[in-house]
Subunit: 206 residues, 2 copies
DNA sequence: TTCACATTGTGAAAGTTTTCACAGTCAAAC
DNA sequence: GTTTGACTGTGAAAACTTTCACAATGTGAA
């Protein structure tokens, strides 16, 4: 199994490669990708090694082949669908942020407990009452959940998601969720991020 | 210097401790804090060791003392002020998210290049034209910047921030910023986070 | 064909982070 | 006073991640 830091970087590499491909570049060396990603060339080569792709000592990596290889490791061939729970400011921002970007991995339904927010369409994404989550997860084969509710409700929502059969959660609430070990949770903790920045802004020598 | 992962966990511990304190709890053991934070007791003890606080073998850690100790390591006694650049959906969501939470670390000014978004007050935070960033950074002694602009403009904004004297950046744009080594950058890469969740949602054994 | 050379792939080293495991400590019970 | 037991603090081990350094390789030039 590929370690989770590597997965993160592969996702980054792919984004950078796609940008480069749009500029007409056909192949790339580890040191170029490294410079763009802010890592070392050796790290790039190791990461690419981990997905089993090989470059050419003279021309580096073929862009389209490498992008394909990353896709083969990261993407589900059938695509994966995500739900978003909590249509507040942050939830709406995320719907906008992710809408229409990647067909393979899209947020296909939103949920909220506030009836006033339901039965609307936000960024092409229909909003349902939270009680319809299990039904919709089954119907649309949703495997991923995004939690953007207030912290007090996050655990309740996580429990509901797990019962509905969701396998991975991206959690924006500043709470550690308790879930079974076969459900993956990625915390996006913005408060922690801001406090880290504040600390290092002070500590890094001027 | 305390490593950055430790700083992140200390920030988390403090949040958990404050929640517990509100419930009237007066002291806490490493295994309790560990359970709440989702880490091992040994890790909690190491982290607390790194800020130089000591508990009591019989009563664990004194809550208020520990919270104070963490504050002494993480917080600037004078407080720190942050600016937010990019008043789109995500920017507004963050202003709401952070508004009024911590007096020691607040977003005190917002900036946007769109004149229609300027001269308004969003969540108690005044919005200025981006050209006034240097002036306001100096005037309000802002040391931290939050980037929520489209990726194409992120590097330009980062350059402007660096020139204005900002020391730490929380970056939401999916781009690696080039900054001098005395400026700290924390990337909050939501696309990467979602792709990681998608990958592990598939890979973790059912 | 042969050479030169920038690059890849990777075993091993170095560095970093986490966990183990246990001596030392404190307070409550007796 | 002494014993007991759960907990802390921490050196050392383990696990994990990154970097080094160099043999192997493919290509273009001579």
């Amino acid at each position: 199994m590929i370690p989770d830091k590597t997965i993160g970087r592969l996702s980054l590499y792919r984004r950078l490669l796609n940008r480069l491909l749009a500029e007409g570049v056909r192949n790339v060396y580890s040191h170029q990708l490294a410079a763009m990603a802010g890592v070392t060339p050796a790290q790039v080569r190791r990461d690419i090694m981990s997905i089993g792709y090989s470059g050419n000592p003279n021309r580096g990596y073929d862009m389209t082949e490498l992008i394909d290889s990353i896709g083969q490791s990261l993407d589900d061939p059938e695509g994966q669908r995500a739900a978003l729970i909590g249509v507040g400011n942050l939830g709406r921002a995320l719907l906008t942020y992710f809408s229409g970007r990647r067909p393979r991995l899209a947020i296909v339904a939103a949920f909220d407990s506030d009836p006033r927010k339901c039965d609307r369409v936000i960024q092409g994404c229909r909003c349902f009452g939270i009680d319809r989550l299990p039904e919709k997860v089954a119907e649309m084969d949703i495997s991923i959940g995004t939690i953007t509710v207030p912290s007090g409700e996050a655990q309740k929502v996580a429990d509901l998601m797990v019962r509905a059969g969701i396998r991975g959660i991206m959690n924006f609430a500043p709470v550690r969720l308790r879930v079974p070990s076969n459900v993956y949770v990625e915390d996006v903790d913005m408060t922690m991020a801001l406090e880290k920045v504040a600390y290092f802004a002070r500590k890094i020598q001027p």
